[in-house]
Structure formats: C-alpha cells, structure tokens
Symmetry: C2
C-alpha cells in the first residue's frame, strides 16, 4: 500500500526543485532497474506490480497495484516497477582524455541520447553548463536506457572550466575543419551547443578548433543535423582511428 | 472562421485511416511550411494566426484565432500556422545507388530523424516495409524538419523488393563486418530493422552483408544504439570516402 504522502512525494520528483529537496530521483522499468544493481547508484526502495520478477530479497520491494503504479509513474504507459534512488552529492572530478561538454542542452531526450552515445564509445565523463537539463529528470533517465549509471555527468561553470582545461576544446561549426580530414588531438573536449542557439559567445571564445560534418545533400535548408546525431557522426569518425 | 466540420476533418488527419480517406495531411509551423513552397508538395489551404508573415497572396490563407489553432494543431504547443496538403499517389520508382530500407520502424520520431539524416547525406529514396509508420503521420512530418519534401519515401513488400534489387543489401548486426574497415559497394541498400525486434527473419535471409559499429565502452548491457543513431554513424563512415 502506498500512502497519500508517499504518492505526493514521488510525484513531486518530476521537478528538479523537489529532487533536490529530497535528494531522490526515480528510475522506471525492470530493465533499467536491473542495471542499477551493478552500479554505484544507491536504491532507497522499489515499488513493483510484480516483485518476484526482480528477485532481490536484500532490497525493500513494495508490492503495489497497477492503479498505484499509474499514480507514481511519470510515463504515459507505466512499466512494471519504479525505483526510488538517492542523488549523491557531486564528487570531485578531473579531466578525462575524451569528454563531451554540453553548453545549455535543454531537451531531456537529447541529453539522454548523448549519455547513451558516450557510454557506447566509452566516454566516461560529460561536463555540463549549469543551465543544461538535469540528468535526474525522469525523461533523461529513461532516454539513457541505463547508461547514466556508467557515465559521470557533472555540472559546472563552463567559462571557468574551459579556460582552465588542458584538453583541446573542439566546437562544431559549418565553417570548421572537415571531420573526415580532422586529426584527433590526444586529449579533447567535444563541445555541443544548445539545440536552437548553439554555443554561447563566451563558450565560443574558448574554442581551440571547430569541426564540421559535410552535407552531401542538395538541400539549401538552414536546418542542420540534430545535436545528438551530429555528435554521433563526429564521435564515429574520431573513433575510427581506434578500429 | 473555421467551421465545426473543417475542425473535425482536420483533427481526424491524426489517423492514417482518415488521411487516406481525404488524401490530405498536415504540416505545422511557418518554418516548415515555407519549405513546401520550393517543393512539389501541393498545398490545399493554410490556416494561420498571422497570414501576413507567410506573404503568399497566391495561396488560400485563412486567418484564424489562437484558440482555433489550438483546436486543429496536433502539437502540445501549437505554432503559427497549419498547412493542409494533398497526399499524391505513390509514383513508379526505381532503385537509386544508395538507399535506406526500413523494416518495420514504428516510432514516428525515429522515421522523421532517419528522413532528415537521408536528406543530409543526399540519399534521395527510402524504401519501407508496409508496416513501417506512415510518413504523413504529423509527428513524422514534424521530426523531419522539412526534409520529407526532398526524400522520396515509398512503401512496398520488402521480401519481394529485396529479392529483386541489384543493390547490395546490407544489414546491421554485432557479428557483422566492422564499419571502419568495410569496403562500400557501389550500389547499396542499408537496411534498418524494427526498434525492438530488429529485422524480420524473411528480411534477414535476403541480406548480402552485415556491418556493425564497434562498441568502445565497457558496458555489458545488451542495449544497443538507437536505430537512427546507428544509421547516422554508419552513413557517416560510408560517406567518408567522398570527403
């Protein structure tokens, strides 16, 4: 049984303000929840319509009805279980050899896709401007398909960070160097800007090099590739040297 | 003024059944509607909260209120205008040198992203199994950002088509050839399967070669890249020879 109070608290976790207040976030669906078991994410409790499926006697799993699940799920079509997890304070971090840097990414689906992409290429850390969408947003968590457990996502003052890093800061710009002939530096930050406005002028000033994915189509449209797709194609190319 | 009948007809265009009944589909937002002017898409009429912005005296533009727009828009946050366009019967088509072939793609956002990607790389034709999501679905149209005007999307019996084509049929499979060493054939079909189930067994039988994007991350998760992202990375690599 879920108390009215618990339902209210869990529902409030849709908003960053309340995630920060309670230091909690939600993970939905057994498939992603099972990935938590092999990660450092700490689970407070799990609510499930079918606790036996999870088969974790060491965890506090509460049996709930389909109706209760609907009340606490953030999804249009709720899955089987909802895990309530602790948000850990951001740890001290240091530069890795290849990182993504996000300057004001707003769409939760984009951030989730970018985290999943980072995980695929073994990129262990993503550095975000403070106004980038929150990694604990339920839509971001869903879109990562569990990858958020393997990629360290940190939030910081980008201008300060980019001024001090020893990595080469690489931006994307149609006037930049063709990604197919670009020589990958040993240590790099690939910087991705906001969906509509691109990078902030302050960020642009701290770019060392720009790269671009050539357009082969005849379209004269100004619409470029979606930010996560552009990142995917660029990473695909940067990693081609490791084949 | 919009009549109740018109509102009902336009709202019904959310469903494939009614799009086929009326031979009509909707395009929303001036940005994409302006792309129609340079395409072969035939516009029946436009409803706009600000007709002057469109500045096309040759077109039948009806001035509507914000409230009326809300009624006919398929979007959560309606834009400025809605164009009602004619669905043309599928023309005779023949193979192009590089094509995408979709076997049961269900998510409108994925199809839209794939069309946009094709447009970027100058791929002029996408061949879909008959159960692939409808290109005229409003969510597909939105996700293409106008690219649907430049890419020919055809629906056909895939087994029959793949058996008869002279293009090399290339599938994706983690057991396939590494995309970084794969030698691109002159004429090819890149086949992308359903989001959850991949390609149908009947389709798999007609594959000539498989390619894969190597995973550099340590994750043991079975979750692969999203189908459109995988397509983007593969195309990025196939086109590297044209740099």
């Amino acid at each position: 049984m879920l108390t009215a109070h618990t339902i209210k608290v869990l529902q409030s976790l849709d908003k960053k303000k309340f995630r920060q207040k309670y230091n909690l976030f939600l993970v939905e669906g057994n498939k992603i929840i099972c990935e938590l078991f092999n990660s450092k994410v700490k689970i407070k409790e799990i609510f499930s319509t079918d606790p036996q499926k999870l088969d974790r006697p060491d965890l506090h799993v509460t049996h709930i009805s389909e109706n209760e699940l609907k009340k606490i799920s953030m999804l249009q079509h709720p899955k089987d279980s909802v895990a309530v997890c602790y948000i850990e304070p951001q740890e001290d971090w240091k530069d890795r050899e290849i990182q993504l840097v996000l300057d004001g990414i707003q769409d939760p689906g984009n951030l989730g896709t970018i985290i999943r992409l980072a995980d695929w290429f073994g990129i262990e850390q993503i550095i975000c401007s403070e106004d980038t969408v929150d990694v604990y947003n339920p839509k971001v968590i869903m879109a990562t398909m569990g990858s958020f457990t393997r990629v360290n996502v940190v939030y910081t003052d980008l201008t300060e960070y980019l001024s001090g890093t020893e990595n080469i800061n690489i931006g994307t710009d149609m006037e930049g160097e063709n990604i197919y002939s670009f020589k990958k530096p040993e240590k790099l930050n690939l910087i991705l800007g906001n969906e509509g406005n691109g990078m902030r002028p302050e960020t642009e000033k701290l770019i060392h090099k720009n790269v671009m994915v050539p357009r082969f189509g005849k379209s004269q449209s100004t619409e470029s590739l979606n930010v996560s797709m552009a990142a995917g194609i660029i990473l695909g190319q940067l990693f081609s040297e490791r084949k």
